[in-house]
């Protein structure tokens, strides 16, 4: 149960983090705004590794033991950021939100199968419902925005 609560809290944190990153991007530019996040987080986690007595993890022989492909998570994150910026600039919020989520969830199903050997076809139904729910909400949101703009234009015309 605790894992489910933490996963939901992770979603909360992700939105707050996104808003602060946007602010950092406005002040410093997109790349430097992201860099401040990575540098700070590196320093904080480096200190916490030693505080928690796990400094041995930085031994070169220990680092070499880990399959190199597992270190590529952050490279994948950077690639995602680049595609996200280019794709979102040229499409609407509805399309971008649904397609990104589709890619995320589709990949996670494939990788859960690859790493944990778990696959339940019913999960596809769940993912379809999540995507439909998000698409529906985004559609309502854009309809409300359109209505607000029309109302503003009408008020300005009077």
């Amino acid at each position: 149960m605790i894992y489910y609560a933490v996963a939901i809290a992770n979603g909360f944190l992700s939105v707050i983090n996104k808003m602060i990153n946007v602010k950092a991007g406005e002040c410093l530019g997109t790349t430097r705004g992201a860099l401040i996040n990575y540098i700070e987080a590196s320093v904080i986690s480096f200190c916490l590794v030693y505080v928690t007595g796990k400094g041995g993890e930085f031994r070169p022989d220990f680092i070499k033991e880990v399959p190199p492909v597992f270190y590529l998570g952050s490279v994948a994150g950077l690639m995602a950021m680049i595609f996200l910026i280019i794709g979102t600039k040229n499409t609407g919020a509805l399309v971008s939100t649904v397609l990104i989520l589709f890619g995320q969830l589709g990949t996670s199903i494939a990788l859960d199968y690859a790493f944990f050997g778990t696959f339940r076809p019913i999960q596809m139904v769940g993912i379809f419902m999540i995507l439909m729910g998000i698409a529906w909400k985004e559609k309502l949101r854009s309809a409300e925005l359109r209505k607000a703009v029309l109302q503003k234009n009408e008020e300005a015309g009077e």
Binding site: L13, V15, L35, A41, L105, G133
Partner: protein
Amino acid sequence: MVYLVFLILAGIFQGLMVSLNGQLGNYYSLMGVCFFVHIIAAILLYLYIILKEKKSVTFLGVPKYVYAVGFMGVAMVASTSWCTLRIGATAMLSLSVIGQMISSAIVDHFGWFNVVKKPFHWKQIPCYLMVLAGVLIVVYA
């Protein structure tokens, strides 16, 4: 059309990131995972700024709360890796979607972080329920 492919690719790479960071958790402590995830990204991004953008790196002139972003980055990577190892990437991402939807609605409703206020409408409730039902199927079915 190509931009739609870019967006799917963005999602695929994000899914890859979550899974690979989760796998790193089999070898390192949570903070160890956070360190490697962030330091590799920091080095790559620093090189990009210096070599491609040819800009200097300075972090001055931002609101003070922006400096909290590093703590959030650590908390997010740590919680993602911790949960992915226990419940799998699909369940982790699906549950995170619920958290993101609720917090986005709160931020929009109150206009936090200087965003334009968008009051919550009750007619959005069925959308949330549909997502919730989807998440419950992914996690429990």
